[in-house]
């Protein structure tokens, strides 16, 4: 549940506007990294929290 709320925050809050714009990292706009990175993070967090509940 907590992971869901974190995910909400990551994607639907003004946090995103931080990463917009034309700043680039290794030639790739930052937003790309952020979106997919945060996505992967949420997935990992989900795996971790499922593992914890099983204990």
């Amino acid at each position: 549940m907590a992971v869901f709320l974190i995910g909400l925050m990551l994607f639907y809050s003004p946090l995103i506007s931080l990463f917009e714009g034309t700043r680039t990292l290794a030639g790739v706009p930052l937003l790309h990294f952020y979106l997919f990175g945060a996505w992967a993070l949420v997935i990992v967090a989900a795996v971790w929290s499922v593992g914890r509940e099983k204990e």
Partner: protein
């Protein structure tokens, strides 16, 4: 040059592979060795969410509006995290009640109403058939484009191929065949189709692989990495909007995510694979994160492919939707292009198959069957119903696919087809309020659900469907521009003046609001009736372990034979009998005929049937057989109430008995402690009185002698008086010590703590005991460490301790040759003082005892001198200062008493 025969051949081969896979999986399932028991397969089957719209359309959307495609996949990712609770409930309830479709779910929950089921089916069909058409169109277009290899030519929208040569029709018929073969082999009471699920999971892998292949191709082969591609893109001014990285309007970003989050469960195909086909509810755990992972992977390369497409083709020449296919073609990779085509085929066929099965189940169970039942007025004429039902099911499949094809032919390039994805989502989103409320709210009623669905659907039609028709030119467009009859406030895409919103978000806002409001308001108009309440309990409490109290809700007479006969008519004789035999066995009854015709059996029969014909119809059937008496609402509530009361009561009982146990244990412990203290008090009292009596006895004796004998000589008299004095002194000493000890032990003593030098204390005490040592002829040696030994203590008390130790030493050293050594050393954070004498010493056993009240070491048999309270008092004092005092074990070498005190300052 890829000729048509090759493409067709490969496609057929692929579909043949699917057939084979499904067949093999079904065979294994029949043998009882299911292949889809693996949680990963479940998660992959959920990926049927990604259709040709994902495969081709994502790139198209990305090329037009940057990241606008992403929310469609982010929404489901986030909502998947909640599946543990929401979806689990739905799965449990559906399994318990053999619910086989969304229409069945909603209808069963709200009073098992046929009307509700029919409405849901209608909405589903209207919303989803265009979506199916879209898949057919994708297949047909990709086929045509691929045919043109190596030239990249867009199919001519104006030219329509003849009916018989139309690939889409061929595919539609083929898919109908596949679906019929693997979706309707028999009326399974659980409606699970293992072969189909295996095929779907396989297709999910194929489409993912194809998409990733193109993505990697673009990034690694066509360009030298993503940054290189971007660098080239920056040179083209046309692409600037694509590169300006922003997520677009926040309203859309959130709105579409929300919509997709709802759709991922409400789409009939999603409900089918997620709830109906699930093999084991533990698979949900893995799907929770595996499905989002799949979505992540399939979206990873969308933007690179979009940019590559725009760079490769002159603007506007090639449809962005087809980039996935045309890029390999442009770079002359026929193998890859073919692979991509198969991937797209995979995506489209997966969707069509599952959606068609789901829809046909709904149509047959919730739309056609109820009207048939109504026509026959209850019981159908004597015949084997199961074959009839299967026929209806198959007919529905073919009809739906043909409808889809028809829509595709009629719509062509029209706006209505192209944008259908989101429009479909919005249609099925209307199910969400009823479905979610079904498992969380007990208050929904049949009329409420009807009202909500009707309201939401109407708003959807008005704000999204009709405008799409208008934009395709099928309807006059002025009601779009100016509102119906010129009323601007009612403009379909700007209701009540809410302007400038994306049309989907706008529709979502109004339709869901209307839906929810109608649902809640109408539900509040009356109390839920007996059936609704019982179902509410079953649904909302699905996760709580409970005995099914609603079994008792049936009251009726039934002959077992009739029930079995009914089941046979719908499921076929073999399956029906097998099910009842199983029931008999589980109830401990040998013979089928001897099954008691009670509530449990009837319930079983109803559940069994609902798997085949839907909950509402099953209820009607069984009701006609059992002549059930309708339960009043009060009675239902009473039954439920009683059950919950009993539950509460037993819980309360458990709690009280536990508290009682704890209290008893505490009492026992306290009792033991009191007994111990009592004993200690007795010991103390007897010791003290004994000690008091001895000197009192001597005092009395000698006083009497002096009184009675006036002739006693002076020397004797002096001696006796001396004894009297010393005994009195001894007595008062004892009393003082007892009082002192009492004060110390009770904590009422007064302490005056100060920082002092141990050496001065030692000096003081040696001085005051010097007389004692002189009298005994003993020598005192001091071995003191250098410097000041500062400790925090009460001076008088510390002196008291030292004097006690020295006095003891003086008591026990042999006369004339006594040696007492005082040592002061520094230890780890403490000062240690040792007083050692060369007296008889303390036996090892007595080492701890000497510190107990009234205990004295007997030494070598000599009568002990003193009160026996000195050491206990010393211990209280030393321990109060935070130190410790003990006797060391040095047999035959005299007693050694030590105490330690913590530094008050570093030496």
């Amino acid at each position: 040059m890829i000729g048509a025969p090759l493409i067709v051949g490969v496609s057929f081969a692929y579909l043949g592979l699917l057939f084979a896979l499904a067949y093999w999986a079904d065979r294994r399932a029949d043998q009882g060795r299911s292949v889809i028991g693996h949680p990963t397969i479940y998660a992959l089957s959920l990926a049927v969410y990604c259709t040709a719209w994902t495969f081709y359309g994502s790139v198209g959307r990305a090329a037009a509006s940057g990241f606008g495609f992403l929310p469609i996949y982010l929404g489901p990712t986030l909502v998947a995290l909640l599946w543990g609770s929401v979806l689990l409930k739905m799965v449990r309830v559906s399994k318990a009640q053999r619910i086989t479709s969304i229409a069945d779910f909603i209808a069963s929950r709200y009073g098992k109403s046929h009307l509700l089921g029919g409405l849901v089916t209608l909405i589903a069909v209207i919303g989803v058939v265009p979506y199916i058409a879209l898949q057919l169109k994708a297949i047909s277009r990709s086929f045509t484009i691929l045919l043109g290899y190596p030239e990249v030519v867009m199919p001519d929208p104006a030219g329509e191929p003849p009916l018989w040569g139309d690939t889409a029709l061929v595919v539609a018929l083929l898919l109908a065949a596949f679906t019929i073969l693997f979706g309707t082999r028999h009326l399974d009471a659980s409606e699970r189709h293992e072969g189909m699920v295996a095929a779907i999971a396989f297709e999910s892998l194929v489409k993912l692989a194809a998409f990733l292949a193109v993505g990697l191709f673009v990034i690694l082969y066509v360009y030298d990495g993503f940054s290189d591609e971007l660098a080239r893109a920056r040179e083209v001014p046309d692409l600037q909007p694509l590169l300006s990285t922003s997520v677009g309007s926040y309203g859309d970003w959130f709105g579409i995510s929300f919509l997709a989050a709802l759709a991922v469960l409400m789409l009939p195909r999603q409900f089918q694979v997620a709830v109906v086909e699930i093999a084991d509810e533990r698979h949900l755990e893995r799907a929770l994160w595996l499905f989002p992972l799949y979505l992540l992977l399939i979206n990873l390369f969308v933007v690179p492919i979009a940019i590559a497409g725009k760079l490769t083709f002159p603007a506007g020449a090639v449809d962005a939707d087809s980039f996935v296919l045309t890029i390999p073609m442009a770079y002359e990779e026929p193998g890859l292009a073919l692979f991509v085509f198969i991937g797209g085929l995979s995506a489209a066929t997966g969707m069509v198959i599952v959606e068609t099965i789901a829809l046909s189940t709904m149509v047959s169970n919730d739309l056609l069957l109820p009207s048939l039942l109504a026509r026959w007025r209850g019981l159908p004429p004597e015949a084997d119903i199961s074959r009839l039902l299967l026929l209806i099911r198959r007919g529905a499949i073919v009809a739906i696919l043909l409808l889809g094809y028809l829509y595709y032919r009629l719509a062509g390039e029209a706006y209505a087809l192209v944008s259908i994805g989101l429009i479909s989502f919005a249609a099925v989103a209307q199910f969400a309020p009823a479905m979610i409320a079904a498992v969380y709210w007990r208050g929904g009623t049949r009329e409420g659900a009807l009202a909500g669905l009707a309201a939401g659907f109407s708003v959807w039609v008005y704000t999204l469907l009709l405008p799409s028709f208008a934009k395709s030119g099928w309807l006059p467009g002025d009601f779009l521009e100016h509102g119906p009859f010129g009323i601007a406030l009612l403009k379909p895409q700007a209701l009540l003046g809410v302007e400038g919103w994306n049309e989907t978000t706008h529709c979502l806002l109004w339709s869901l609001s209307a839906n929810v409001v109608a649902f809640v308001l109408v539900s509040a108009l009356r109390e839920p009736n007996a059936e609704e309440t019982a179902q509410a309990s079953a649904f909302v409490d699905a996760l709580k372990p409970q005995r099914s109290a609603h079994l008792a809700l049936w009251r009726g007479r039934a002959e077992i034979d009739e029930l079995i006969a009914l089941a046979e008519r719908f499921l076929g004789p073999a399956r029906a009998r097998a099910a009842f035999v199983e029931l008999a066995r589980s109830r401990g009854v040998e013979d089928l005929e001897r099954l008691p015709p009670d509530a449990e059996t009837v319930q079983f029969a109803e559940t069994l049937l609902s798997g085949a014909i839907g909950g509402a119809s099953a209820r009607v059937m069984v009701a006609s057989v059992t002549e059930e008496e309708a339960l009043g609402l009060d009675e239902v509530l009473d039954i439920l109430d009683e059950a919950s009361q009993i539950r509460d009561y037993s819980r309360e009982l458990e709690r009280k008995s536990r508290e009682l146990e704890e209290a008893t244990a505490e009492l026992k412990a306290a009792n033991l402690r009191l007994q111990e203290l009592d004993r200690m008090k007795d010991d103390f009292m007897s010791s003290v009185t004994h000690e008091l009596r001895t000197p009192l006895a001597s005092i009395r004796a000698f006083s009497e002698i002096l009184r009675d004998d006036p002739e006693i000589e002076l020397g004797e008299r002096k001696r006796f008086l001396g004894i009297l004095v010393s005994e009195t002194e001894r007595l008062s000493r004892l009393v003082n010590q007892v009082l002192d000890l009492a004060k110390l032990e009770s904590g009422h003593a007064e302490w005056q703590m100060e920082e002092l030098d141990l050496k001065s204390v030692i000096e003081q005490s040696v001085t005051s005991t010097s007389q004692l040592f002189h009298d005994k002829g003993a020598a005192v040696f001091q071995a003191l460490a250098e410097g000041e030994a500062r400790v925090l203590a009460d001076r008088d008390r510390l002196v008291q301790v030292m004097v006690n130790l020295l006095a003891n030493a003086a008591k026990y050293v042999p006369a004339g040759e006594g040696r007492v050594e005082i040592r002061l050393e520094s230890g780890a954070g403490v000062w240690r003082v040792t007083v050692a004498d060369n007296g008889p010493g303390i036996p090892a056993d007595d080492l701890p005892i000497v510190f107990e009240k009234f205990r004295q070491s007997a030494g070598n048999g000599e009568k002990p001198i003193g009160t026996g309270l000195g050491l206990p008092i010393s211990r209280e004092i030393i321990e109060h200062f935070g130190g410790r005092i003990w006797a060391e074990d040095r047999p035959e070498k005299g007693a050694t008493l030590c105490f330690e005190l913590p530094w008050s300052a570093r030496p």
